[in-house]
């Protein structure tokens, strides 16, 4: 009885979680404008999505989202890694102050970050558009990179850098040949995190995209929904994003179980 209850509970939970996605995925294979009407199987929405349907504006929004995400992820990874190395080598008191300062932007609500950046750009009369969105995204992604690189630095043998210098590496060579390879896993996870944060962002983008017609996926959908009804092409798009994320997750999980398997063999 207890077991049955537990199973029912978990199934209800899973259905509630995944039903909306499954419904969207199912209805991405039909042509009906309104979600819920099944007018027969069709892949027209998919072809329309990629052939520049909806005036190509949806496709442009996707392009913007991806390019901003990639630039922001790469730049914040570079900045965040350098910052993490710098903070790591500070004296303990200064280090704690920097940790604290690094935490504030992460705990700060997005809306506040967005408004403050908006005011900043207006104050310095910066024309808002693609560049300002990229700058904004780098700004809020960098602290997360710092946070994901720091544990790798802490794990590192404290003498590693000195050992490299001792063997004749200049400080730059030591950084490039020893420190970076050591903290690479932290940098990669930081970069992935930054990328997802950037793609996911709505509030900050809305305040910094200006009025030159720049749209990312999130602002596009928002604007679209306000115009009344969602564009049908969003259904295949959501499905593609969901499947991509699912595949990525499966790959990551498979990889981690594989490395764990190797690890246990070694010891």
């Amino acid at each position: 009885m207890k077991k049955l209850l537990a199973q029912t509970y978990i199934w209800i939970l899973l259905v509630l979680l995944y039903a909306p996605i499954v419904i969207i995925a199912v209805f991405s294979f039909t042509e009906a404008k309104v979600l819920g009407n099944w007018t027969g199987f069709s892949t027209k929405l998919y072809s329309s999505l990629f052939s520049g349907g909806v005036n190509g504006s949806l496709l442009r929004a996707i392009e913007n989202t991806l390019s901003i995400g990639i630039i922001a992820a790469v730049c914040s990874t570079i900045l965040g890694t350098i910052a993490a190395i710098g903070i790591f080598n500070l004296t303990s008191r200064k280090k704690h102050i920097m940790y604290f300062l690094n935490d504030i932007p992460m705990l700060n609500p997005d809306i506040i970050t967005g408004i403050s950046l908006f005011i900043l750009f207006v104050t310095f009369s910066v024309t808002q558009g693609y560049i300002t969105v990229v700058i904004a995204h780098i700004t809020f992604c960098t602290p997360y990179v710092v946070l994901s690189v720091m544990p790798r630095l802490k794990q590192m043998n404290p003498n590693t850098y000195e050992a490299a210098l001792d063997l004749g590496a200049t400080p730059f060579q030591a950084l490039w040949k020893v420190i970076i390879p050591e903290i690479r896993p932290g940098m990669v996870s930081g970069m992935l995190l930054a990328f997802t944060l950037s793609i996911d962002d709505f509030a900050v983008t809305l305040f910094t995209k200006g009025n030159q017609g720049l749209e990312t996926l999130s602002t596009y959908i928002y604007a679209d929904a306000r115009k009344g009804g969602l564009t049908p092409e969003l259904r295949p798009l959501s499905t593609i994003i969901f499947v991509t994320v699912l595949l990525l997750l499966i790959i990551i999980n498979l990889r981690s179980t594989k490395t764990q398997g190797q690890g246990s063999k070694k010891h």
Partner: protein, 476 residues
């Protein structure tokens, strides 16, 4: 092996961290091909000294030269020295081969030469066939061999070793000691070795440099350091010893534990207080109590493998540690003899506390930043004075609140019938009190310090311009 060709010369080297002096005027010469060990308890400055040599930290004052050329201005990556770290510090993302080849690859040495040299050095550390291995899959001992190989392949002029064996278990440590000694003999490279393990130092070194509190206490061969320690710290740190208060009566005649003994030391003067060191194995113990120098009662007897370790209470109330191949039953009355050549006499570093201070008024004086009651009516207010307080006139109290001052118990020395403690009042300004007590305290205990007004004897400081002869002789 060792000759008089100096390779490293350190002069007046000092270093402070946050106002705390960790190295204080270090002077040291290292000869080419020598195996030098820097030995001392943790925090004595030995690792700091090594790190200054390697170039990882800068010194505040002083010079270091290598082959007559200044070393301190050279960045670590251009110094012809290599370091073996305590925790190996291998690069985990590289395999054994690439770890060892790291230095040569940076110098753009041709591939086939690198290959040959890596194989040669791997053979030397008995790690052939391990080239492809992931360094993290190796045991501690194997990792340390790789670390040694990685340093030696660059053919350094001096190899610096920072407690390289400290993380290994005892058996492995013993084996590696023998191998290190053998490597040193074969290669002829100068080794500077840091350790806190006195046995390791005695086993490996040509020369031992004993350090404490940022200062060099003694430099000498292992035998010198063991047989003729210059002060009670060295005697206590190296091996087991009985350290006792004594009085040098005249040349070759010393009094301690209530008896006069013949000894071999000269030049101390007459009736001069000294410290006397007797190694436990140098006291002859026998059942016959006649014709012996002194007698006592065996208190305890423990089998230690090769010998028995006994504690004997002498009839005059001193406890002596004795090692002998024969066991003597606890409770038995025994006779004891010490040969003149086994008595090591040392100058006392001090015979009482001497503290610089300032008179506040006729009834108060400021010492170590605290006001003490005492008779100061002979002195002008605000004048500089020197206070003398005998070791046994300082009370240590359990409750910090009860004392005028608070301090931490530092170095503890057992003197046969009492303890001689170093109490650290303020580390930064090097305020220490030296106290004789019968109570048992542990290192790092926090204690209250109380000094009675009549036990503080004031005098004018020696260097004062109007210094009258106030009876303040020099305190060694």
């Amino acid at each position: 092996m060792a000759n008089n060709d100096v390779i490293i010369k350190i002069e007046h080297l000092s270093k402070s961290f946050d106002d705390k002096k960790v190295l204080n005027d270090i002077n040291l010469e290292v000869r080419r091909g020598e195996f030098v060990t820097l030995l001392g308890p943790s925090g004595c400055g030995k690792t700091t000294l090594l790190r200054i040599l390697a170039g990882f930290i800068a010194s505040d004052e002083g010079t270091v030269s290598l082959d007559g050329k200044d070393l301190l201005g050279v960045p670590p990556y251009r110094r012809p020295l290599n370091t073996v770290f305590q925790r190996y510090a291998l690069f985990p993302h590289l395999d054994v081969y690439d770890n060892i080849a790291f230095g040569l690859k940076l110098q753009n040495v041709p591939e086939d030469e690198i290959d040959e040299r890596v194989r040669k050095v791997l053979k030397m550390v008995v790690m052939s066939d391990y080239e492809e291995r992931d360094v993290e899959s190796l045991s501690g001992g194997q990792q340390q061999r790789v670390a040694i190989a990685r340093a030696l392949i660059n053919q350094p002029k001096v190899l610096l070793l920072d407690e390289p064996l400290a993380a290994l278990d005892l058996k492995m440590r013993k084996d590696m000691q023998i191998e290190l000694k053998e490597m040193h003999r074969k290669l002829g490279i100068t080794f500077i070795y840091v350790t806190h393990d006195q046995e390791e130092a005695l086993t490996l070194s040509d020369t031992i440099v004993v350090m404490n509190g940022g200062k060099i206490q003694q430099i000498g061969t292992p035998a010198d350091i063991y047989n003729e320690p210059v002060n009670s710290f060295v005697a206590d740190f190296i091996g087991e010893s009985n350290i006792l208060n004594g009085t040098m009566l005249s040349d070759r005649r010393v009094n301690f534990i209530g008896h006069d003994f013949d000894c071999v030391d000269e030049g101390f003067g007459e009736n001069v207080p000294v410290d006397v060191v007797i190694r436990p194995e140098d006291i002859y113990i026998m059942n016959n109590t006649e014709k012996t120098q002194f007698t006592g009662t065996v208190n305890s007897c423990t089998f230690k493998g090769v010998h028995y370790e006994m504690f004997v209470d002498t009839d005059e109330g001193f406890e002596m540690q004795i090692q002998d191949y024969n066991a003597f039953e606890p409770g038995s009355h025994v006779g004891l003899i010490i040969k003149p050549s086994d008595i090591q006499v040392m100058h006392k570093e001090r015979t009482c506390n001497t503290i610089k201070g300032r008179v506040i008024d006729a009834g108060h004086v400021e010492l170590m930043g605290t006001s003490f009651e005492c008779d100061a009516h002979d002195f002008e207010p605000d004048s500089e004075v020197e206070a003398r307080i005998d070791f046994d006139k300082i009370d240590l109290l359990d409750d910090k609140e009860d004392g005028t001052l608070t301090g931490e118990v530092g170095f503890i020395l057992y003197k046969g019938d009492h303890y001689h403690l170093t109490i650290c009042i303020d580390e930064k300004s090097a305020n220490y009190l030296y106290v004789d007590t019968n109570d048992v305290w542990d290192k790092c205990d926090m204690v209250g310090v109380r000094i009675l007004p009549e036990d503080i004897h004031l005098g004018r400081p020696k260097a004062a311009p109007l210094g009258k002869a106030e009876g303040l002789e020099a305190i060694p």
